[in-house]
Amino acid sequence: LKNKNKVTKFPVARIKRIMQKDEEVGKVAQATPIVISKALELFLAMIVDEAHQVTAERGSKKVEAYHLKHAVERTDMLDFLKEIVEAVPDPSAGGTIDVEAENGRGEPGKKKRGKAKAKVAPEDEEGEG
C-alpha cells in the first residue's frame, strides 16, 4: 500500500555498479545513476513496445524472444543490440531468411553475456569474489 502511488524503479546503486564494471569509467556523481535510471525506464518502454508490435503483427498473445530480435533488427535506434539478440533462433515458419543469423548459429565464440537458459539468477549465485 505504501508504494501505491509510486512507479517501480530500477535500483540506483546497482546501476552505478554496472557502470563501473567498465574499467574506463571512474568517478560517478550521485545524481548520475538517478538520471540513467530514468533513461533506462524509457529505454525499457521502447524495446517492450517495439517487441510487442512484432507480437501483435504475428497475431500472438505472448512476447517471444524472437519478436524482440526482429524488433531490434528493424529499428535503427536499437542497432547496438544486434549482437545480443543474434543468438536467438528464428522459427522457420514465417521467420525472415536471415543469412547472417544462419551463419551465426555455429556461435563462433563471440562474447556472450550469459545466454538465457544457462544463466543462473544472479541473486541466487554466490560470487567468487
Binding site: 512507479v7 517501480t8 524503479k9 530500477f10 535500483p11 540506483v12 546503486a13 546497482r14 555498479r17 554496472i18 557502470m19 564494471k21 567498465d22 574506463e24 569509467v25 571512474g26 568517478k27 560517478v28 556523481a29 545524481a31 548520475t32 538517478i34 538520471v35 540513467i36 530514468k38 533513461a39 533506462l40 524509457l42 529505454f43 525499457l44 518502454a45 517492450v48 513496445d49 517487441a51 510487442h52 498473445k61 505472448k62 512476447v63 517471444e64 524472444a65 519478436h67 524482440l68 535503427d76 535506434m77 536499437l78 547496438f80 543490440l81 545480443i84 536467438v88 553475456r113 550469459g114 538465457a116 544463466k119 543462473v120 544472479p122 541473486e123 554466490e126 560470487g127 567468487e128 569474489g129
Partner: protein, 144 residues
Amino acid sequence: MSDREGPSVVPGSDEDLSLPKATVTKMISELLPNDITCAKETRDLVIECCVEFIHLISSEANEICEQESKKTIAPEHIISALKRLGFESMLAEVEDVLKDHKQLQKDREKKVSKFEQSGLTEEELLAKQQELFAASRARFEQGQ
C-alpha cells in the same frame, strides 16, 4: 537510499552484475496490455539489453567527460551522451528528473542551514520544542 535490492546482495560477485528480475518483470507487465504475456526468455533478454544500454550510455558519457577534462561523470554528460547516440526523445523527461533532483538537494540544504543558523544550541532548541508542545497541549485541552 532504498534501492529495493534483491534479498541476497553479494558484494563480491561482479561477474553477473545484472538488474533484478522481479523488478523488470513487474515493469514489463505494467507496460503490456492485460491480455499479453511475456516469455521468461524474453524478460531475460530484455535485462541483457538494459545492461547493454547502461554500458553504451556510460561509455559515451565517459568520453564526453574526458573531453571536458573532468574526472567525475556528471548527469549533464549523460544528457549529452543521449543526444549524441540518437536518444533525443528521452531528453525532456530525463532533464526533468535532473531538475527535480537538484531542487530536492536545494531544499535539503535549506533545511540543514536553517537549523545551523538559528543560533541556538541543541539543548535550547529542544527546550523550545518542549515549550511549543506544552502550549499546544494546553490549547487542545482547553478546547475539549
